[in-house]
């Protein structure tokens, strides 16, 4: 069984790994490189928790052989986190309760990042459409959509929580 060396740029850093044939990026990132933010949910491309960006496009690392990213730019959630503080999407997810158990969060944020890079002012429908490949079992999705809207609208995501509750009451009607 011939192992190969694969070279790619991971979160801005040139990275080299030796892999057996068909080793997935999910395994490379987590088990070989210790980058745990990218999650394991189903290993069949159905849940989205393993989403990474390859040349800025969302892909499912559980379906992606490492050899296929030779020479490409790979971005994971670790690559979004600045040295100090949080990326605006991370701050918005945190402030808007868009994360509960936390398991879908990395995938959601990566897709949201790709969306906003392509389309800085998405409509709610476009946000929902972009996130449709990512499942969440905890939040009911609304806080996640709201968090992305907040960043898209360029709002300060540190809004007072009482304003949120008043807005939620209107939705009931």
């Amino acid at each position: 069984m011939a192992s190969k060396i694969v070279t790619f740029v991971l979160n801005g850093r040139e990275t080299e790994v030796m892999v057996k044939p068909l080793t997935t990026m999910q395994v490379v990132l987590r088990d070989k490189l210790g980058y745990n933010a990218t999650k394991v949910g189903c290993k069949e491309g159905a849940c989205g928790t393993c989403t990474i960006l390859v040349d800025g496009e969302p892909m499912l690392s559980c379906l992606l052989p490492a050899e296929d990213v030779e020479g490409r730019q790979v971005t994971t959630l670790e690559g979004l986190t600045p040295v100090d503080g949080l990326h605006p999407l991370q701050q918005a997810f945190f402030d808007n309760y868009a994360t509960q158990c936390g398991y879908c969060t990395p995938g959601m944020i990566m897709v949201a990042k790709a969306l906003l890079d392509h389309n800085p002012s998405p409509t709610r429908e476009e946000i929902v459409d972009a996130l449709s490949g990512n499942l969440c079992r905890c939040t009911g999705y609304e806080p996640i959509i709201r968090a992305v809207e907040v960043v898209a609208e360029g709002q300060d995501s540190r809004r007072p929580a009482m304003a949120e509750r008043r807005r939620d009451k209107e939705i009931v009607r």
Binding site: R30, D31, N36, R173
Partner: protein, 452 residues
């Protein structure tokens, strides 16, 4: 005491683990790696009901990376009765199957190997000699004479204090029906539901230099799981150190203590860390689900909308084993008459075994099925007698001081206020007699015939 003076009550409090979640730094069980870690995969029954005649590991043992196989003989106390800690029996589920399997997917033997692939291959190469037995999948079929018997005590139901079901008896049901102007019947069948957490059930058991075992787990119930594990392994509780609390979704699906005992046993016997994580297929096909129910209502209702008699026969599909279902049945029985005051109540709730995936806890288990069916039944009553669905509920709403069918005095009713609040929120105007009601006034609701 005004809101501005409080730091937590009435304020939005950010999650302590929120930063970890949004940066991906929160550590889940699968994020832990130990250099000499072994992987556990389970040999499972492909049959719904079968006798085990023998197991042959010879081909499995030849798989490169195979370390060890465990059967029920290796388990110090092979009894998996997770509610034994609160005195609920009987002991009817093994940790690893002995002579018989009762559901497709049941655990038979644990294989531990150097890699996940090797463990999977060894499982595939384990030969189990089965004698297939007839199976039953329907709760009512399982109670009929001639159905295959699943339990060692000779029946397919859980015994509640000598009875074949959980019973509520209040008033005189036949007298109640005799008074009724309408009889309204209904059958409701909430189906089984899989919790489908994004993170599958998992643990890693790791022997430590001081002789203890650290168990990293995503169980919802650390002490519960630790204590059950210790009882199964027959070790003092303080030999185990359970680390957890980070759960990638559970909703009741991670209270079954299903991975920790066998992984911990394997760690103890091999001296190495052992990881046992459910695949997505196992999470769907093997892990417990919300209980499926079949619920029959027969209500006697007077012309003015009072339910004067309620008879309910419910069947809970516990699947192959108890798990938490007998407890769900008790809760269901208590709640099935609804938040309504009914003078004559007759409830039988059966906890039935079938050759299906065991059902267990899931948010509000036992009660959600009661809420679902009672409320559909209320709507049906309203339609049948030609009454407004808001009003039928107000007329029958329980009040403080009323007696529940299980003989408890109501102390905390606010149903009337909740209904009134809901009506206001959606802009529905209730008649004046309803608006005048409250939960402390035990006088009968007196609708006047003229809408007002």
């Amino acid at each position: 005491m005004s809101e501005q003076n409080l730091d937590v009550v009435g304020q939005s409090v950010k999650r302590r683990d929120g930063i970890g979640h949004v940066t991906g730094k929160t550590v889940f069980v699968d994020d832990l790696r130990f250099p000499d870690m072994l992987y556990l995969k389970m040999v499972r029954s492909p049959y719904h009901h079968a006798r085990i005649k023998g197991i042959d590991f010879s081909a499995a043992e030849k798989v490169p990376g195979f370390v060890r196989a465990f059967t029920y003989k290796d388990v110090p106390k092979n009894i998996y009765t997770i509610l034994c800690l609160i005195g609920v029996g009987p002991d009817e589920e093994p940790v690893l199957a002995e002579q018989e399997v009762l559901y497709k997917g049941e655990q038979i033997a644990a294989i531990v190997a150097e890699t996940e692939e090797a463990a999977m291959e060894a499982v595939a190469k384990t030969r189990v000699d089965f004698e297939e037995l007839p199976a039953v999948f329907d709760v009512e079929e399982a109670l009929k004479p001639g159905a295959p018997i699943l339990k060692p005590w000779g029946t397919n139901y859980f015994v509640y204090e000598g009875h074949d079901c959980r019973r509520i008896r209040y008033g005189d049901i036949e007298a109640g029906f005799a008074q009724a102007d309408y009889i309204v019947e209904g059958r409701y069948q909430p189906g089984p539901v899989e919790h489908a957490p994004l993170e599958t059930t998992a643990c890693i058991a790791k022997p430590e230099a001081d002789g203890r075992i650290t168990v990293y787990t995503n169980t919802q119930a650390l002490y519960f799981t630790m204590d059950n594990t210790a009882l199964i392994l027959q070790v003092p509780f303080n030999k185990l150190h359970f680390v957890g609390g980070t759960v990638g979704g559970a909703f009741g699906g991670k209270v079954d203590v299903i991975v920790e005992p066998i992984a911990t046993l394997a760690a103890m016997r091999t001296g190495r860390p052992v990881k046992y994580q459910f695949t997505r297929e196992e999470e769907f096909h093997v892990s417990s689900t919300r209980t499926a129910w079949r619920i029959y209502f027969r209500d006697g209702v007077s012309k003015d909308g009072h339910i004067v008699a309620r008879q309910v026969t419910s069947y809970a599909d516990s699947g192959a084993y108890n798990r938490h279902t007998p407890y769900a049945v008790t809760k269901h029985a208590a709640n099935i008459s609804g938040p309504y005051t009914i003078p004559n109540v007759h409830v039988d709730v059966h906890c039935v075994y079938t050759n299906r995936q065991p059902s267990s806890a899931m948010r509000g288990f036992g009660v959600t099925s009661a809420s679902f069916s009672t409320e559909l039944q209320m709507d049906k009553i309203a339609r049948t007698i030609g009454m407004d669905p808001w009003e039928i509920r107000l007329i029958n709403a329980y009040r403080n001081g009323d007696i529940r069918p299980y003989q408890k005095v109501v102390e905390d009713a606010t149903l009337v206020e909740a209904i009134k609040g809901a009506a206001k929120l959606v802009g529905h105007e209730l008649p004046k007699w309803a608006q005048a009601m409250n939960s402390w006034d035990r006088g009968a609701a007196t609708p006047v015939t003229v809408e007002g």
